[in-house]
């Protein structure tokens, strides 16, 4: 296999206050199908290294597969990004990517791109728009790459959804060896979903391509799951259908894979993930208080938002409720059950203040 080369990009990054890093290695088997090529089973290996700083990130991926006929395929991608200083509000982002794809007895493809984006919003809801330019080198010569991208994302408790639209085009040397001529152009639309909860990572993507000039239209999709059996070991499975990735030189592929992942940093495993908790015993919202207390015949409450007047809660099934406007912020609450001692409501941290009183603390957003 031709050696896959990687060039380390030197980046100027702000000193990270809380850097995060992760190294993973995957090994497993894959069943592959490519148009015009016989189906085959292959041994697949992968590795990733991510270093995430406060304003900069470096991500790398390596993947290699070995088919039974001793034919190897290797691919690598290196991404570096840096963002502006704004903690909130619009923010710029500059990124660079280098990729290489090589295979036994075949020419290799390398590409390099630079992209600039404007990011708006935050992690919960946000978007970005930008464009880039680069170069792609393959057996037919060197091509100019240009691209545009618009993305939007939304994060829920443990789910994240990303919608993406991108435009990719190439300009390559014409058949006569003279000036550059139009090459491939296509537009991709995709939606991705990701969840990481209680030791299980799930992901799915669906997309469609409208192609012009020398490219093929069609749809693609993939699903993947990683089950963390131990803090540093996961069982991973994936299946999907991908179209040509022109900037990377990767052809259209259908695949099913199964393997193991080893991670340097621990992840919550399915075994030590906290079981689905029963509904919280004390819930305080802007509309009032709900308490789950079994075996009580009377529940009284006082709090800063009652001006420390004692109020009686109303029973509603297995719950005790108080309808009261509660302003956002930190609040102190105490309850008394069946005329007993005043104490913090169940599930809230007990705080003893400088007057010797014991209350529960709760923050209302």
């Amino acid at each position: 296999m031709r050696r896959v080369g990687l060039i380390l990009l030197s980046i100027c990054a702000a000193t990270p206050l809380h850097s995060q890093w992760q190294v993973t290695a995957d090994a497993g088997a894959a069943h592959l199908r490519q148009t015009g090529i016989p189906e085959s089973n292959a041994l697949a290996m992968g590795a990733s290294v991510d270093v995430l700083g406060e304003r900069a990130a470096l991500r790398s991926r390596l993947l290699a597969s070995r088919a039974p006929n001793e034919r190897w395929t290797g691919q690598g991608v290196l991404l570096a990004s840096i963002v502006g200083p704004n903690a909130t509000g619009p923010n710029w982002e500059l990124s660079g990517a280098f990729s290489a794809f090589g295979q036994t007895n075949a020419s290799s493809t390398t590409s390099a791109e630079g992209m600039a984006r404007l990011r708006l919003g935050g992690t919960t809801l946000g978007g970005a728009i930008g464009g880039g330019v680069g170069a792609l080198s393959d057996v037919s010569g060197t091509h100019v790459l240009y691209s545009g991208q618009a993305s939007t994302w939304r994060t829920f408790a443990v789910d994240q959804i990303v919608a993406d639209a991108s435009f990719v085009g190439t300009v390559g040397p014409d058949a006569g060896g003279g000036s550059f001529a139009d090459g491939t152009r296509y537009v991709d639309l995709s939606v991705s979903w990701r969840r990481d909860h209680r030791g299980i990572e799930l992901g799915a993507t669906a997309g469609a391509r409208a192609a012009f000039n020398a490219a093929t239209s069609g749809g693609w999709g993939q699903v993947n799951v990683a089950a963390w059996l131990a803090p540093n070991l996961a069982l991973v499975a994936a299946a999907g259908r991908s179209l040509e990735d022109v900037p990377r030189g990767v052809p259209r592929t259908q695949y099913v894979s199964l393997g193991l992942r080893i991670a340097a940093r621990s992840h919550t495993s399915v075994l030590d993930a906290r079981p689905a908790t029963s509904a919280p015993k004390t819930v305080v919202t802007r509309a009032g208080v709900v308490l789950r207390i079994d075996g009580a015949s009377r529940v009284e409450l006082m709090a800063d938002f009652t001006d420390w007047a004692v109020v009686e809660c109303e029973r509603s099934g297995g719950e005790w409720r108080l309808e009261r406007v509660v302003p956002p912020g930190l609040h102190r609450i105490a309850i008394r059950i069946d005329g007993g001692e005043w104490t913090a409501p169940p599930g809230l941290p007990r705080a003893t203040d400088d007057l010797g009183g014991v209350v529960g603390l709760i923050t209302v957003p």
């Binding site: 991608v77 903690a87 992690t123 946000g126 400088d354 010797g356 923050t363």
Partner: protein, 218 residues
């Protein structure tokens, strides 16, 4: 209970009138302590600090704890000092709610530097929610410095207020179930940070990686 409720209502009403007329005793039965409290409240108001927290503390001390008057005066004086520290830490333009919650966080173990870190991370956004979560975590047993690092890091990763509050509630529930506070925080944090962007919100995903069979030379 009726007597207590009536006392609370009457006390709050009298405390509210302090702002305009300082002839009402804040601590019924102790004129000297009441006068001292009135001076504390007046000084805080003149300094531009919110006085509702002080009045609430007095009400709490009288109605709930039945603390001795001098102890209530000491608590009110200490709270006024914390309010000033919180306002200074949360400058340049903290809201009254920010100042009050900051004073609460100081009471439960946070430091001025940690309040300042939360302000810096939040920009000009209100900070009462992250400070409230900070106070909750510290009250749950999490080391104050660690709790402040977590809260500021989550703010920089654009965690929503709902996510911050949910983290605090989950840690509280785990501690109530017997977990160590710091371990509970670490476990809950992994789940939350898995769906948050890195600080600064850098983009994800290296596209286009797949295992393929060889492409033949033309």
């Amino acid at each position: 209970m009726i007597t207590r409720a009536a006392t609370a209502v009457a006390l709050v009403a009298s405390l509210a009138r302090v702002a305009s007329a300082q002839d009402t005793l804040l601590l019924p039965g102790d004129r000297d302590a009441s006068a001292e409290l009135a001076r504390i409240v007046s000084a805080a108001r003149d300094a531009g600090l919110p006085v509702d927290p002080i009045l609430g503390k007095v009400s709490y001390g009288v109605v709930v704890v039945h603390a001795p008057p001098q102890r209530i005066v000491a608590a009110a004086r200490a709270l006024a000092a914390r309010l000033e520290i919180a306002r200074d830490a949360l400058a340049p333009r903290p809201t009254p709610g920010d100042i009050a919650t900051g004073a609460d966080a100081l009471e439960f173990g946070a430091t001025k530097a940690e309040l300042r870190a939360v302000r810096t991370a939040s920009g000009d956004q209100p900070v009462s929610t992250p400070l409230g979560v900070l106070a909750q975590l510290v009250a749950s047993g999490v080391n104050a410095k660690r709790a402040a690092q977590i809260v500021t890091d989550l703010i920089k990763r654009h965690a929503s207020t709902a996510q911050l509050v949910a983290l605090g509630a989950d840690v509280n529930a785990d501690v109530a179930s017997g977990a160590q506070a710091t371990a509970a925080l670490d476990t809950r944090l992994r789940g939350l940070t898995a769906v948050l962007a890195p600080p600064g919100g850098v983009a994800l995903d290296a596209p286009g990686i797949s295992a393929t069979t060889p492409k033949k030379k033309p």
